[in-house]
Amino acid sequence: METRNLLKLCLITALVGTFLVIILANNIEPETKTIDTINENMFDEWIKVQGNITQERDIEGLKILTVNDGTASINCVLRKNVSYSLKDQRVEIQGKITDYKGDIEIDISKIKIL
């Protein structure tokens, strides 16, 4: 293949590919789980849970939210500055399962008040 044609093909692929990644990243939804099914074998897995915020703590610019969905509770880390209280709100949380000092947590990527 001629260099000029290869360059054109690669430019199109790069632009279309980048655009596709942006679209997919914003539109794919994770699987909904109940909190009691979350375990340490699911590290780095992206999930969605729905529940009520029963506790809220502010630590070093982070908000630690305790979410209960009726099956169990889990701590969820919100890395954004939210000035208002989220306590007692019903929320839908998306995030990756992580660990903090032996406890399983959800690192929140998206939070929606229901």
């Binding site: 360059l7 980048t18 990243a25 780095d44």
Partner: protein, 398 residues
């Protein structure tokens, strides 16, 4: 206890060699498996023994990781910038010497990191808040310097922006596991392999010889690696890749000596991430995260034990890495390089869905296209580091 530490060190060396030599196996994967099964191991041993294993594996991996990067063109985010200079030396018959340069850099990096650790333990809690404030502006200045230095400035800007947007989208693509694997396999791995395949590159007979580097030049480059590594080691989101980019912007570096620099910043950043865990109680590398998990009350005595382990492993790593480099140098001529490139491309494409999921293939293909554009228009591969720099700049700005 001492016997257990010795066994952990030995196992770390063996596993770190395997993860380094085989493309696509990341030490984070092994560390995660160890963490998941740690309850079982902690019945027989103590957390410090597991931390010794993690550190031995990490340091060994840092050394041996350059062998597939240089001989096979299969890099990760830490070794990506070594691929092109390494590949050029490989085409001159100096693949062994290229690995030796990175090994020398890695070893000096460990010595330097241990020497400067007491200084950082003392000053880091004070300068850390200041570093956080300037990091975005420092990185913007670095990007501008690199673009200004480039002859084809418009192409450099295009490559930086496309790579940056791809990096940003990939890191926010939550469905992708280990997002840096497909990103860097595409940008720096499969793109180079595809070009070698298309151009039918032939590998000449490899010489087992050294490349002389002037002592003065070596001192300068190690000084530069201390400066750049120190800037990034204590901050989130930045690591050895950014340190190498910062160094390139500060001083124009000869390709051969650049390999020493990449090696040195890799080990300095890795060692200082453990110092950061002690000094500011924040883990700044994947490995430091796991050490922090095993040793939640990480103290100075444990830090020095781990740095001593680092020194022992580094001494062994020099010989093991050069042994593998010699083996690769002698073996690579017996293989048809064009088809070896093709086979490694297929391997990276097969590993992508296993490690990151099927959607990772879109990232590999897109990254490959950007990498090929960079080669065709003749701008430096370093601009593709926009894939990490743009997300980090935005992280510190917003």
């Amino acid at each position: 206890m001492l016997e257990q530490i010795f066994i952990a060190l030995l196992l770390g060396i063996i596993i770190g060699t395997l993860t380094g030599i085989f493309p696509g196996i990341h030490i984070n994967l092994v560390a995660t498996l160890l963490f998941i099964t740690s309850a079982f191991f902690l019945q027989f041993t103590s957390p410090i023994v597991l931390a010794v294993f993690i550190i031995s594996m990490a340091i060994m991996h840092t050394f041996t990781d350059f062998v597939p990067s240089i001989f096979l063109g299969a890099p990760n985010e830490d070794t990506a910038l070594s691929v092109l200079p390494g590949h050029r030396l490989l085409l001159e018959g100096n693949g062994y010497a290229a690995v030796k340069l990175t090994t020398v850099g890695c070893f000096f990096g460990v010595l330097i990191a241990i020497a400067i650790s007491p200084f950082f333990i003392a000053v880091m809690p004070f300068i850390y808040p200041w570093l956080v404030k300037i990091m975005a502006f420092l990185l913007i200045a670095i990007v501008l310097i690199l673009i200004i230095r480039e002859e084809k400035k418009m192409w450099a800007i295009i490559i930086f922006i496309i790579s940056g947007v791809l990096g940003l989208a990939t890191l926010n693509f939550m469905a992708i596991k280990q997002p840096l694997f497909p990103l860097f396999s595409g940008l720096f791995g499969t793109s180079l392999l595809a070009m070698s395949f298309l151009q039918n590159v032939k590998i000449p007979k490899q010489k087992i010889q050294d490349i002389k580097v002037e002592k003065k030049e070596m001192t300068k480059i190690l000084g530069l690696s201390i400066l750049s590594s120190s800037l990034v080691s204590f901050l989130p989101g930045v690591g050895s890749a950014q340190a190498a980019v910062i160094s390139s912007a500060i001083k124009k570096i000869d390709e051969k000596i650049f390999l020493v620099l990449v090696g040195a910043v890799n080990t300095i950043v890795m060692c200082l991430s453990f110092v950061a865990l002690f000094a500011i109680q924040k883990p700044r590398s994947g490995m430091a995260v796991f050490v922090g998990k095993f040793l939640p009350y990480f103290n100075e005595q444990q830090l020095w034990l781990l740095l001593l382990v680092t020194l022992i492993v580094a001494s062994v790593a020099v010989f093991v890495t050069l042994l593998f480099a010699r083996f690769f140098a002698q073996g690579i001529m017996k293989i048809n390089y064009k088809w070896l490139c093709f086979a490694i491309m297929i391997l990276l494409l097969v590993l992508t869905p296993i490690i990151s999921g099927w959607l990772g293939l879109i990232i590999v293909v897109t990254g490959t296209a950007i990498g090929i554009i960079t080669s065709l228009v003749g701008v430096k591969k370093i601009h593709m580091m926009g894939s990490l720099l743009l997300p980090v700049i935005l992280y510190y700005l917003i």
